[in-house]
């Protein structure tokens, strides 16, 4: 296998693991891990377009510039993308702190339920439920003896 195919599959694999980390888990911190992995995979995929066979880094050596240099434009783009990624990660973690302070848990299923309950209470309507939910048995129609 040549190097390009290996690296391409590594980038795709990392992105797929990252997306799986966002979709499957229910704990918010694991979802944030998944976001960070997805970002790393996307940066690797972007950097693959700057590589050529037998290329050298685009930096001057003692003897002058090398003959065949890699493409510097995707490298500059990935440089800023990594720094922006850490800014997003910091903001996501601080938002997770606020979710824990507001709802008391980080399990996303319970957070969603409590959010629905709070929204319904604010708006004055009942919580959304399904039509086939069993209605509670009332006792005032049963005593006719």
């Amino acid at each position: 296998m040549e190097m390009g195919v290996i690296l391409f599959m590594a980038a795709i694999g990392l992105m797929l693991i990252g997306i799986a980390g966002i979709v499957f888990p229910s704990h918010l911190i694991r979802i944030i891990f998944g976001i960070a992995l997805l970002e790393a995979g996307a940066n690797l995929l972007l950097l693959l377009s700057s590589f050529k066979e037998g290329a050298a880094a685009p930096i001057m050596l003692e003897t002058g510039f090398p003959q065949n240099m890699a493409d510097p434009v995707p490298q500059a783009l990935v440089l800023t993308a990594i720094v922006i990624g850490v800014g997003i990660l910091a903001l996501a973690l601080i938002l997770a702190l606020r979710v824990q302070a507001a709802y008391g848990t980080l399990d996303m299923r319970q957070v969603r339920q409590r959010m629905e309950r709070d929204i319904a209470k604010q708006a004055g309507i009942s919580m959304p439920s399904s039509i086939q939910a069993p209605r509670p048995i009332t006792t005032h129609g049963a005593d006719d003896e």
């Binding site: 888990p25 704990h27 891990f33 702190l97």
Partner: protein, 81 residues
């Protein structure tokens, strides 16, 4: 060169799976640092030393510190989940 790339790629993908599958959050954080380390070595192999330095400093350094601080503030630093 292909052999080195194959080894480092498999280390990276195995650590990425470990981030999602490990129960303890401290171990998941260590596996995430390993993913960053392997990724920066891959960047060096792709002849991009600037990007490799940035990824090593930010991924293995600042990201892990941010996660560790957030986990401590959340109180799930010691216990697993």
């Amino acid at each position: 060169m292909e052999l080195i790339t194959l080894i480092i790629t498999s280390v990276m993908l195995a650590s990425a799976l470990a981030v999602l599958l490990l129960k303890d959050f401290l171990s998941a954080l260590a596996a995430f640092s390993a993913v960053s380390l392997a990724l920066s070595v891959l960047f060096v192999l792709l002849q991009a030393p600037d990007v490799a330095m940035t990824e090593a400093a930010i991924g293995a350094g600042l990201s892990s510190v941010l996660f560790a601080l957030a986990l401590r503030k959340l109180g799930i630093w010691r216990s697993g989940e």
